[in-house]
């Protein structure tokens, strides 16, 4: 399996598996304070392995990641045509993270919350692409009836709690969802995604503290796509190995190759075992990469074209999965048939989103308050 060395190299993702170097920190740099067992004495989760997917699972990983890719490309296109307005943050390149993690959850029991780059997480939960796309175009048929937009989408029936536009807010809110799981004793786990940028927000650490203090069932997932808008991790973070960010709260962290869906799924299994075992929160750092700009209006001049190309050519999550499928005996024709199928779904979503009517003017004043006073 692939691992990412816990060194401060500038390699963003290692295309080749590095030497078997433990990604888990030893914590030996800081001596234990009296009264506390030092980090090195604490129980640690096992270093996760690569998930052994069945052919069927591998096919669904491929299919679902491809759906996100094509959906996002189409969203980019519709933005260019003026059909989507405002801010629109695409998930292209990061598909393996949402698919690898959410495929391990129990829908209806576990909850998911994320920031504004949320289209992929919704698709990963099987939410209808038509109503997601219709939300992006601001139509009445959209999942938020056209009143949320790209950054503000929710599906309470899937226990998908958004879709939040304030960087880092979803971390505290996610801890609240985990609090609910614990309070109700419903056995659910909250998966709270945030980016490398959000990992510098103060409320993240307030939430880490309380989550560990109260042993809340939550998996904190840092989707480290290397750039907080235009600022690279190294320029913004004094500790740039983000999986260590839970250390002072005694939250174990694992660094994962977020471009490899099997590595992600393997980490999800380990994390879920830990959290469902009542051991409190765990932190997963997903080393990933977004191919597009931060949002549609970001020219992404802060990185070289070569960097993006290298990532696409060597680490693309979908290409990796395709290669595995071929190894498993799936023919090019079968793969093409999936591709064709996905394009049809996405084209239909775009058609639906373009042709659906805008919200009725009366919707302006609905859903502000639940009750009448």
């Amino acid at each position: 399996m692939k691992q990412i060395a816990a060194s401060k190299t500038k390699d963003i993702i290692l295309a080749k598996p590095p030497a078997k170097k433990k990604a888990v920190p030893t914590g030996s740099a800081i001596p234990a304070l009296s009264g506390n067992s030092g980090p090195q004495n604490r129980e640690r989760p096992e270093q996760p392995g690569s998930y052994r997917a069945t052919l069927q699972e591998m096919l669904s990983f491929y299919r679902e990641m491809l759906l996100i890719r094509r959906f996002e490309e189409k969203a980019g296109q519709l933005y260019g045509l003026g059909l989507i307005g405002g801010f629109c943050h695409l998930y292209i390149g990061q598909e393996a993270v949402a698919i690898g993690l959410q495929s391990a959850l129990i829908p209806g029991k576990d909850s998911v919350i994320t920031g504004y780059r949320d289209h992929g997480h919704m698709l990963a939960y099987g939410i209808d692409p038509n109503i997601i796309m219709a939300e992006l175009t601001g139509r009445a048929a959209g999942i938020s009836r056209g009143k949320g937009g790209s950054m503000h989408m929710f599906s309470t029936s899937h226990k998908f709690y958004g879709g939040h536009g304030i960087v880092g807010a979803q971390v505290s809110l996610g801890a609240g969802l985990a609090f609910k799981h614990k309070y109700a004793g419903d056995g659910g786990v909250c998966l709270a995604y945030f980016g490398d940028g959000a990992s510098n927000q103060g409320q993240v650490y307030e939430s880490f503290n309380m989550a560990e203090l109260w042993k809340l069932p939550i998996i904190f997932v840092i989707e480290n796509n290397q750039y907080a808008m235009g600022t690279s991790v190294n320029r913004a973070s004094s500790e740039d190995q983000l999986y260590r960010r839970g250390e002072s709260f005694r939250i174990p962290g694992i660094q994962v190759d977020g471009m490899d869906v099997l590595a992600v799924r393997g980490a999800a299994e380990t994390a879920l075992e830990w959290v469902r075992g009542g051991k409190g929160p765990i932190l997963l750092e997903m080393k990933t990469y977004r191919y597009r700009g931060h949002s549609m209006s970001d020219p992404a001049k802060y990185r070289s074209r070569d960097e993006v190309q290298a990532m696409r050519e060597n680490s693309d999550p979908i290409e990796q999965t395709k290669a595995r499928l071929v190894e498993m005996g799936i023919s090019e024709d079968e793969i093409k048939a999936i591709d064709k199928d996905i394009r049809a779904i996405v084209n239909e979503a775009a058609d639906f989103a373009e042709s659906s009517p805008e919200p009725d003017a009366n919707e302006l004043y609905t859903d502000i308050l639940v009750e009448q006073y």
Binding site: E73, G76, Y79, G80, L81, G82, L83, G85, F87, I113, T137, G142, I143, S144, G146, G148, H152, F154, S155, Y161, G162, G163, H164, I166, A169, V171, S172, L173, G174, A175, G176, L177, F179, K180, H181, Y183, A184, S207, N209, M210, L213, M296, S297, P299, K301, R305, K340, R343, N347, D351, E354, E358, A361, Y365, D367, I368, V370, E371, Q372, Y373
Partner: protein, 453 residues
Amino acid sequence: MAVELKMPALSPTMEEGTLAKWLVKEGDVVKSGDILAEIETDKATMEFEAVDEGTVTSILVSEGTDNVKVGTVIALIAGEGEDTAAPAAKQAAAAPISAPAAVAAPAAPSPVPAMSAIKSDPAIPAGTQMVTMTLREALRDAMAEEMRREPNVFVMGEEVAEYQGAYKVTQGLLEEFGPARVIDTPITEYGFAGIGTGAAMGGLRPVIEFMTFNFAMQAIDHIVNSAAKTNYMSGGQMRCPIVFRGPNGAAARVGAQHSQNYAPWYASVPGLIVIAPYDAADAKGLLKAAIRCEDPVVFLENELLYGRSFDLPVIDDYVLPIGKARIMREGSDVTIVSYSIGVGMALEAAGILAGEGISAEVLDLRTIRPLDKAAVLQSLTKTNRLVVAEEGWPTCSVGSEILAICMEEGFDDLDAPVLRVTNEDVPMPYAANLEQLALVNPAKIAATCRKLF
């Protein structure tokens, strides 16, 4: 069939741009992700990527062309086989480019009046026994009763459990309900406001205590951006039945950072309920209503009132309607509108004025949002003169709002200008004499009323 490549909008505001450079030429085969062209917007030069695979058959706008309107076809790509039947060529795509104009269409609809069934305070039958109780006890009883009634209600905040409340409002709750439902937090307002909001989104009914609302400024993002707006942003899917409560306004001699009235701040936010009771009966009845409410509530108490005793009817399950003002004292010459601690001062002022032959009516707003406009206007109809007394700053205050309402909807009833009497427009000073000068008081309220005659 060929796919039309159109001049893309590359920012929320872009209408046209310069096609700076083509990176492909006619006959080139491109695949998804290849850079086709560089386009200059007013802000930046952006790369334009291919989405579909195919061969560039013709370039229709040459490089260096300025002012290319968004949506103009700039090139054609012939696809390989069926995949290229993408909707890019569809006519429908062109129309919505001018979409923002649609916003300027017909006049916005008015808010739905929620007046259909105005609820009243429950009748207090003659002979109902009254008990004397402090505001602090009334608030505690409200929480305890609601916690007994509904297992999903819990209380969270700094020092609410083992310490029994920084101002002893949560006294005894830990003992009765245990540490799973009465939860001490670290000093971390932003974090626990977010956790409470998330728990409410998940289906619980949190009562979040801020030691004072001054500290809630650390957490205001979750109150406003997370709690208040999510129902709307989700098209009505998300619920956030949470109460944020704690002391608000000036205490005594605690200086500028601990003496501030946040009612106008929260009252400006659609999606929030804001309640600021004066006496113990209202505090109890409205806090119970707030905890049962499906909407997020900011419940503003007052430290100086915590220890004050009031009469409270002995009625099982005393719940009051949200959004309903109350006439505290009937009068015919001038209406004094107030809320929270200001109501007590207004009542004192009315007493002073009565001695001078001026009959003042005192209206307690109780709920600041939604504001009981009807009650304000009705009283104005009767007295034709109105003063707003507010323990807070004058600028953009609740008083400012009442003034606007009277101008817009009660102008014909006015015999004199509506006046505000508030704290001085300064940070709260520490020195005893300066603090007294800064604060509103009954004498200032009475003096303001006299100006109207």
